[in-house]
């Protein structure tokens, strides 16, 4: 808020404040901060703060000449005990040391005195505490109003005397607005409370007083400028004041009206005109009227002046919602609890990386198919052992091979024989009739449970064919790259 009439309002923010003085005054605040910081343990607990303030107050009273001079810390201690009837719990020597350090007090040989800075700071601290106390002593609606009135006080105390107390006017308007909002919200409660009259009265009085003071403070502005170019702030202030007056007086009027109603004589005839008029009136939103509206009547019922009235509010159909299963509820709760909004921009969907298609000739396809078929066969029939033997030797007699790959048990031999036939089927080996190859055809001497039945079977020799295929088949369990390499 700009200075009202003349331009020389003293403000720490003003451009015309002499620099060195501004620094000096700010140093006061530095001292205050220093004391508060160093006496941290004194200012951390409400009760200790109180003792500290009491102590400061005692020193200050001496400085103001209200009390006898203080000789030293001990004198202070005993004065405290005398005055308050108990011993202070804070560390007195530390307090005095800190105060001395920041030049709030000085300690001579005989005398403990408070310096000017100390007086001002102590004053401020105690006033701050008292302000808070006064604030908290109000109930919630009146608090904002009280604060607004305090703003008016401060405005008078400072701004009018040429010292800026800050934007008092704005603060006052804001506090009043808060109080009016609160009042609107609480109006029905106030009406419902049979004993709320004193409270409503206080609020209405405060509002009235505030209105007068506000007018007083606003009128100089209006004199200077034309009415229609009023700063928005002032206009807003007027508006809020009007509303506040209306609602506080309206509440008071309705309450009194209701209370008075209880004193009247009981009448028997009812006038339809009056009813109709009242119905139409209760539709309107006017807040200052004496006549309560629908909700306000319900609030009055809450006062329960006629026993049972409070219960007898209205009759409505029971509202049933379709049943919700607890599973659904649990799901919903989980979803809500785990819900994390997407704060980052959504990433673009990545295209999957497709490998390039390989081209095969018909032969190659045949080869691959054959290998796949072979792998499938191997899945079902254990050919490893036979393959191993064939790997070592080019050709082996069938009987010998079966014995070596299997055993003398016929079940093993059967498996081995199956493997051989699989190899032959897979074109990995061939069975030939070898006439001369005695060393291959040599029948083993071991006693076996089995015997090859076909005639001349001992002359059959299994020979490895298709070397490269066999190698890959033998050496791998079907990894395709093996085949690709061998090509």
């Amino acid at each position: 808020m700009e200075p009202p009439m003349d331009g020389n309002l003293i403000s720490i923010f003003g451009a015309d404040a002499p620099d060195h003085l501004r620094k000096e005054s700010l140093r006061d605040l530095v001292k205050l901060a220093g004391v508060l910081a160093e006496l941290r343990e004194h200012f951390e607990e409400p009760l200790k703060v109180l003792e500290t303030l009491k102590m400061l107050n005692l020193i200050q009273r001496e400085a103001l000449g209200l009390d006898e001079p203080l000789a030293d810390g001990d004198a202070l201690f005993y004065r405290f005990r005398n005055k308050y009837g108990y011993e202070p719990g804070i560390r007195l020597d530390r307090l005095l040391n800190v105060l001395q350090k920041y030049n709030w007090i000085s300690r001579g040989k005989r005398r403990l005195t408070m310096l000017d800075a100390g007086k001002r700071m102590t004053d401020t601290l105690i006033r701050l505490a008292n302000d808070s106390l006064a604030y908290y002593m109000q109930d919630d609606v009146a608090r904002s109003l009280f604060q607004a009135r305090r703003d008016a006080d401060l405005g008078e105390a400072y701004d009018d005397k040429g010292i800026s107390g800050g934007d008092r006017m704005a603060s006052m308007i804001r506090n009043t607005a808060d109080a009016v909002d609160e009042l609107k919200e609480r109006q029905l409660e106030l009406l419902a409370d049979r004993n709320a009259l004193p409270q409503i009265q206080i609020i209405a009085d405060l509002m009235q007083e505030l209105n007068d003071r506000m007018n007083e403070r606003l009128s100089p502005f209006e004199g200077v400028e034309e009415a229609d170019s009023l700063p928005p702030l002032l206009q807003q202030g007027r508006e809020i004041m009007r509303e506040g007056m209306e609602i506080s007086l309206g509440t008071l009027n309705k309450f009194l009206h209701f209370a008075r109603l209880q004193q009247t004589e009981i009448r028997t005839e009812i006038s339809p005109q009056a009813i109709r008029r009242y119905i139409i009136q209760s539709f309107d939103k006017a807040t200052d009227s004496e006549q309560p509206r629908g909700h306000e009547i319900l609030s009055f019922l809450e006062q329960d002046r006629v026993p049972g009235e409070r219960l007898d509010g209205m009759w409505v159909p029971v509202q049933f919602a379709s049943p919700v299963s607890n599973l659904q509820l649990a799901d919903t709760v989980r979803y809500l609890e785990g819900y994390v909004p997407k704060a980052e921009p959504i990433l673009e969907r990545l295209e999957p990386d497709y490998p390039k298609a390989e081209e095969w000739t018909e032969d190659e396809i045949g080869l691959h198919l054959a290998r796949m078929e072979w792998q499938l066969t191997k899945e079902r029939i254990r050919t490893d052992e036979v393959e191993r033997i064939l790997q070592k030797r080019e050709a082996v007699g069938l009987e010998k091979l079966v014995l070596e790959a299997g055993s003398e048990n016929w079940s093993d031999a059967l498996n081995a024989l199956l493997a051989v036939s699989a190899l032959v089927g897979g074109q990995q080996a061939a069975i030939e009739r070898e006439e001369g190859g005695a060393e291959h055809a040599q029948a083993p001497e071991t006693r076996t449970e089995w015997q090859l039945m076909n005639k001349g079977g001992e002359k059959n020799v299994v020979r490895r064919t298709g070397g490269q295929l066999q190698q890959s088949a033998a050496g791998s369990d079907g990894a395709p790259d093996g085949g690709a390499q061998s090509r």
Partner: protein
């Protein structure tokens, strides 16, 4: 505080009162009560609230001319639960509905003040003056000079009342917008509310009996006015 406790115990009692129903009602009658209760709920049936007398009689397996049986059913239900629920049969509109008692504090949140005023007007117009319906133009005329943009305001509040089932649209032969009070709307205001309302309108205390007489609430059948 004792009044708080009192209120607390009230809110627990309805269930206990329901327990007593088996003592006075037959299974069929219980079933009918629950059916009426359900059909009275705005959330279940959005257009016509409650059951007609014929439907109730059917559930009760009463012969259509057994008026005595029907009245006895109403009476016994109300005797058992009437502090908290009320089974209302509205003869004019042929509707049986179950209403629940809402204490003043909760009732404040139920409807806006404007809706209450509107409903009171319709209530007065139809219950006291015995009109079958209220035209929208009549509402407009009554409230028109009181506030700005009143048409929209009235429509919005009527909508609220229709949702609650207190008012329904009335098929007027001339196609004019008209509204009829339902059985719910006719009983929505409690006796105490009507008394206080009338007292405020006259700035004078009144007798409950006179008020009820004025609003044609006296002599309600089936002990429902207790």
């Amino acid at each position: 505080m004792s009044s708080e406790e009192l209120e607390g115990s009230y809110s627990n009692l309805p269930l206990a009162a329901m327990e007593r129903l088996t003592a006075v009602l037959s299974p069929d009658e219980e079933y009918a009560f629950v059916q009426i209760m359900f059909s009275s709920s705005a959330a279940v049936r959005s257009d016509s609230f409650g059951l007609s007398r014929r439907e109730v009689m059917k559930i009760l397996k009463l012969s259509p001319d057994d008026g005595q049986g029907f009245v006895s059913f109403l009476k016994r239900v109300n005797q058992a639960v009437s502090r908290y629920y009320r089974l209302v049969y509205d003869e004019r509109r042929d509707r049986a509905v179950v209403l629940i008692h809402v204490p003043a504090r909760q009732a404040r949140e139920l409807l806006p003040s404007e809706s209450l005023a509107l409903l009171m007007f319709i209530f007065y117009h139809q219950e006291v003056l015995r009109n079958d319906f209220t035209l929208f133009t009549q509402l407009l005329e009554a409230f028109g000079h009181e506030s700005l943009d009143v048409r929209r305001k009235i429509l919005a509040n009527l909508d609220t009342l229709i949702k609650l089932g207190a008012v329904s649209r009335y098929e007027h032969p001339s196609g004019e917008e008209a509204y009829a009070l339902t059985a719910i709307g006719a009983r929505l205001f409690s006796d105490s509310y009507l008394k206080r309302f009338t007292e405020f309108s006259h700035s004078q205390q009144l007798n409950m009996d006179d008020v009820l007489k004025f609003f044609k609430r006296y002599n309600l059948e089936a002990g429902e006015g207790m």
